[in-house]
Symmetry: D2
Subunit: 346 residues, 4 copies
């Protein structure tokens, strides 16, 4: 069987490197070309010696659309605002684009509201599916291109979706309290990303208006079939990878119990290869380097609150793994190709 | 000026060792005797080489009430359930007891409800003040003995108290989402305390019914002047020290703003040596090894929610520092003696 | 093609869990039976939720030789002294045993000298090959059973072997200064393994007489063709996985240079799938979760010293990955089956 | 008693912030002025919220020599090459300069050799003492200005000095294998300082020619009374603070034993407030945030090697604490003023 030829734009960042790692083990996709603006000319192995054996001679190239023309699929792993500049040059030249950034996840109006800037390629938004296969699989298959969801939204939406799909909780008053490992800040240089600042430290950031709120409200609202409001508080914690979303919602029906909710979650996610419903609170480390999401749920009768928790690896299910999962769908490959649901622990 | 003579019961655990560290720099209190059940006979320096220079020859003794008789003050740092067994032997023999455990913080009925066991010394409960000086300073001074609050309640109550004292939020629907460093689990041996399990991991635990909920409801209810309900979700994060409480409450009045709330917090804590009100989200690392609590507050007009955050070092303001602060009060010393509000960063 | 059926004795420790993780992706080997003394009856997923998706129903059994009889291969991951007790019950009943402990690595006399106890199954020692394929591949293939080398010896021997094979350094005066992540201590409960003790800490241990010295001297002596002496100083560092060996030796020939030594290393390891010779100092993280060893070498003309460095993941190339590599050899499978030379970074 | 007025040049880096932390508790020295080039105008509390309570309103100023004129003492915490540019403007205007950088530690020729640049103020070198009080106390007192030693040399020289002072080891063939926490790289932004790169990683760097080699050879040679040669290999380990030097030397006399060496070390350092000689291997964490150095020593009769180990906090005894210790000496204050020998553990 012939393999598909892939390109990666922005391959020198952490999401790009994770694509390189995962695709090295993907038997149906070959990495044909990689670009990295600030690292152009450097070898992959010099930035990521972990990849030395798999890509011994490969270097990052400067971005030239012509170098990517004719590829079956191109992954774009760039900061928001940058993808929309170059994706228009790609969509006619390659069969599929999977964007890992925020540029093609939201409608133009929502993008402008949350990102404070006009979208420069709004005409392409309808060609991209919101790439969360567990909830929108058919929609992904029906599109040529995929906008892979953000890390926080992935953990949050998978944790809360069964509640909203079932009409079990109110669409307002939802609180999402989440933590992320430092790799979520990327490979860019900034003081809060320094080991000496992040080690031994937890702090919240982006209070009240973190942009991932928009994705959560959009995706969960689609599941709920109604408008929906989330208060989201992200925190940085001293680990490299992992996201845990701890979510609070108000019940919309009587008679809930933890037992019945857990059964509902197991039904909802039955057969999903990458969602594991646990009785116990999920641990980020159990998902390390895997494409799995671990979730659980509780009902607190004392305070009348539903508690839902979801853990993922932010660089895999929260970025590159999910991007490959979406790529598999649009390429017609088995959805699990090249992906694992087994974490690395300890 | 003469110094006070102190004993420490349970000195070989982390809270006990932290008392030894802090008292080594306290010019008005001498450590006269230290006990440690499982470590009896071992030198302090063998368990804590950090203390070798300050306590070169000191060993942990087995607990004998007679060894402590006549001391001015005894700190008791034992697991819950154990203090109440031996405190009755101490209260007549020493001037002051400061208990760092949970045994003398709650009324007998609440203790039984949350700890699932009858209190064995209920007649002594009234002799202990709930030792959170910023809120109950006069009450502490009016008692002989002090029950130092738990780590999570300290961070949470200091973060939320100005809201409840001012009647600004509802006493129900309060959500407390908090993280703790691994030292909060103590020096006892268990798999979740292992480096290889905790490193790179975050998970929630004690869902719905963690015992510190009772202290939060008690202390905040006292501040609010009414019954009060908290849903508390603790998490373990991969750092040694530090607690961050991220708290959500519903406004009880109109016209709130982040600016007005910050001003209210600054008024409320004016002159407090150990509370710092910050514009920015507090970072646990900024309080490392200090007795300071860092807090901030926000009002989210979009979702109608008040957000309050508090950070402390769980072993200092959350345990041994606060115990010394209480001891200073009952001994008539300056409240800040032997304590620092400067953290260690990086 | 039919698959081989494997058992794991001591599967609940870290090396055992890593075998379970790696074999889940090994298409030619099925895990038929797993035992775990202290965890008998517990599910794999309860100890290692990372494995929940791969082993949803599997439990650890108590060890019964009859349960393993007839299997093609049994991996034994037990503390030293325990394998030799039960391996005699296995060797006649299963085709191949791969022991991950120290019991079958040394001749009986050396075992007694370094481990301070008589070997209880010396008659079996000749049936086990020292399982370092890069140096002793044919010898491994010629045996039925494999003693997988220790973690420190693997990193050290791979770093130094090209020097000794070439007669380039003296067989005495070799200093090995190595660091290990905390998982090297296993899942057993002890104070130095606690997060709060290991985090932020480095200390040496086992000064002068660490038992892995014997393996290093044996394996390197075999390569050198002469007796050989190593002074080995291990250190614990605050990370979960990884070993870095920094080795010092005295030149035995004139005219060495870093350039010529690097060329010699590249020749020596040409074609080896799991050894990467780097120009730059190797980083443990580049080998994380992979079976790769990264090495480099330098000659310091100023002090007349050769410096060789080797990095591995202690649980993979230093334990379970190398055990599978050895298993592949004795089973006649491709040596790389089920193993990766790509690390996980960040 | 009146206090001395101090300035800090380069106060926004980690060594500068640590000076601010330590001087906040120093009752004889007031911080009168602080400068920080890249942070000029920012408040101390915005970069270091840990210092918010001690320096609530203080800001970093741009460097102007006139602002510092008349101060009793000025600490200079700048990258090498920068101190020598501005110290000439200070030496006539302030009583004492304590330089924490490398510019005034070496003779001009050695500086040029190791740093690859001509020294721009060689005429001032004789006015600076090499500020390691335990070995050169009288020399420090006899100078107006102090060059505080580097972090690696401090740990190494304190570990090895008793051997060389006693003529017990050879002055050649010395190997120093050391590890440092990431704060040793400072607050500057670079990829190896990122949490996601440093976490879970150990690697050597500066192979063969790290500049601290020169200081080690200079200081130890002065102790030995002869020329001396060191091969030094530094490593980065995933912790914020701490240095451990593991040193190997060849005996120069017969009849050594670990017992006799330990007794010799205890004699050598008798009465030193900041050196603790331990029977057990020192742990970096035991020195955390303190000015203490912990050392031990062994003789390996098997390989004929002396092993000496030293641990310090790189930002305290390896930088700012030692600078204050030197300042105390030149100001005529008690050498221990404002400094602690108690570490923070856990």
């Amino acid at each position: 069987m012939s393999t598909y030829r892939a390109g990666i734009v922005g391959a020198s960042g952490y999401a790009g490197a994770e694509l390189l790692r995962l695709l090295a083990a993907h038997t149906d996709v070959d990495v044909a070309h990689v670009t990295g603006a600030s690292s152009a000319g450097a070898t992959v192995a010099s930035l990521y010696p972990s990849l030395a054996a798999a890509y011994p001679q490969r270097s990052f190239a400067a971005f030239e659309p012509g170098d990517l023309a004719g590829l079956d699929i191109v992954f774009v792993a760039l900061p928001h605002g940058e993808s929309q500049q170059l994706v228009p040059d790609l969509v006619g030249k390659v069969d599929h684009v999977v964007d890992l950034g925020a540029d093609f996840r939201l409608p133009a109006a929502a993008y402008e509201q949350w990102y404070g800037a006009r979208h420069s390629a709004p005409e392409l938004l309808d060609e991209f599916a919101f790439g969360l296969p567990e909830l929108f699989r058919d929609d992904v298959r029906a599109h040529a291109h995929v906008a892979a969801p953000g890390c926080y939204p992935t953990a949050t939406v998978l944790a809360l979706a069964p509640l909203l799909a079932g009409g079990l909780v109110e669409p307002t008053g939802i609180v999402v309290n989440a933590v992320s490992g430092v790799s979520g800040r990327g490979r860019g240089l900034s003081a809060p990303s320094l080991f000496s600042e992040a080690d031994g430290n937890v702090n919240a950031y982006g209070l009240l208006d973190h942009r991932h709120t928009a994705e959560m409200e959009l995706a969960l609202g689609r599941v709920a079939g109604s408008d929906l409001q989330v208060l989201f508080t992200p925190h940085l914690v001293p680990m490299t990878r992992g996201i845990l979303a701890t979510c609070y919602a108000r019940p919309a029906v009587d008679g809930l119990s933890s037992t019945s909710l857990l059964a509902h979650y197991r039904d909802f996610y039955a057969g999903e290869p990458f969602v594991v419903v646990l009785d116990e609170p999920p641990a980020t480390k159990a998902t390390f380097a895997s494409n799995a999401a671990h979730v659980t749920v509780r009902f607190d009768a004392r305070t009348g609150t539903v508690l839902a928790l979801g853990a993922i690896d932010n660089l895999v299910k929260g970025a590159s793994g999910q991007a490959i999962q979406g790529a598999n769908l649009v390429l017609g490959l088995p959805e699990t190709a090249g992906l694992s649901n087994v974490g690395i622990l300890p």
